[in-house]
Symmetry: C2
Subunit: 209 residues, 2 copies
DNA sequence: GCTTATATGTACGAGGCGTTCATTTACTTC
DNA sequence: GAAGTAAATGAACGCCTCGTACATATAAGC
């Protein structure tokens, strides 16, 4: 009986613990907190208490609340929005936009993402991380699909596909974040059709292209 | 020498003060703080110290940080974005969108507004107030102008003008809030032209309307 | 085994939150 | 002008969060 580890299997004590075990405990706690309480109740102090991981360790690996939240979010939310390729760009856009809206409005992760974007307005580190880990890839996929449609002769080749992304997804974000109008299915359809066929009256002086 | 007011002209003491004087002191302080430090450094405690108004009074009139910030913002920022009516909807949209982008990117108020929208994601009172005091009127003006264009035969009458608003302003907000692509003048022009003339290749199967 | 990296408990000062309370003063009414 | 009411004040409170510091205990790597 020289010295035994003072830690039982469950109870915690002092001393190093396996890194992945610690990390898993933290991310699970952060994910739970985000989905149940939301961003505003996420604090280092609470995460430390609920996860059993010490504040010292938290601050070591996650320098800011944003970093912590983002990590927890991606751990909690299954992100599988791969773009369909039916051959018809209109069909695929509708399908993808509907899936996106579903994710944002019908799953708890949607609110969290909105809160993350919100926090990013006052947390530059979070803004950068969000862009790198989330926006960039999403945008890349959309642009890729739109470019394919151009190559297949379905879209005008002169059109900047980046702008198209903003006019579809950005419009949805607008309603989600400002919340002054509801995001209905009719809205989604109108988004796509307005953009595909244009809104200027045929033969009008406005229609210059 | 019965009793004199213990307050000199500048120095503060206990007791009631003129309501507008108090209100002015607060709004000036909040506006300054927002424009110089930003939303994250705006606290009741600091506003009380800097304005000379007691915390008790602040909490009485402004129930939340969001209410305080919004009030201060509208006091500090001159909001004059009346829609032009040149007779050409394309010209007027470009003009108005450019003015909006200028406001958001070239004036200090732009960042503050983004931060307010951000805060609104975790502060429902602020969300409601922002919608009532800001978004609604902006959207109303845009819809009004677009409806006029419909009546003048420049836009298809079947188009939902609300959706158009999201596809123009929403697209800009998207880039401003996510910051993954810059908001250039070419972007603004592309926004308008994509939407007016459509992006589907003429004669393509996609173009169903 | 020895060394190093890491997690732990504990404590700290600073600061914000949101509220209470008695006191002082401006406004209103008669 | 006097009395009564509404409002602003200072001060203090308990609670929470932040971010950091320190000494100690343990897992990994060599």
């Amino acid at each position: 009986m020289t010295k035994e580890p003072k830690r039982t299997t469950t109870g915690r004590g002092r001393g190093r613990r396996p890194a992945d075990e610690v990390r898993a405990d933290v991310l699970r706690t952060v994910g739970d907190l985000l989905l149940t309480e939301g961003m505003s109740d996420l604090t280092f102090e609470r995460v430390a208490r609920l996860s059993g991981v010490s504040k010292t360790t938290l601050y070591k690996w996650w320098p800011s609340k944003g970093a912590l939240a983002l990590d927890g979010y991606f751990h909690a939310v299954e992100e599988t929005l791969t773009f369909p390729e039916s051959g018809d760009i209109r069909v695929d856009l509708l399908s993808q936009l509907r899936a996106f809206v579903h994710l944002m409005t019908e799953t708890p992760g949607g609110k969290v993402l909105a809160e993350l974007i919100g926090q990013a307005q006052t947390d530059n580190d979070l803004s950068v991380a969000l862009r790198e880990l989330y926006s960039k890839e999403r945008r890349r996929q959309a642009v890729e699909r739109l470019t394919l449609a151009q190559e297949q002769g379905q879209l005008e080749t002169t059109v900047d596909t980046q702008v198209v992304v903003d006019q579809l997804w950005g419009a949805i974000y607008h309603r989600l974040l400002l919340r002054d109008e509801p995001v209905t299915d009719a809205f989604i359809v109108a988004l796509v059709d307005n953009l595909l066929t244009g809104i200027a009256r045929s033969g009008s002086a406005v229609d210059k292209r």
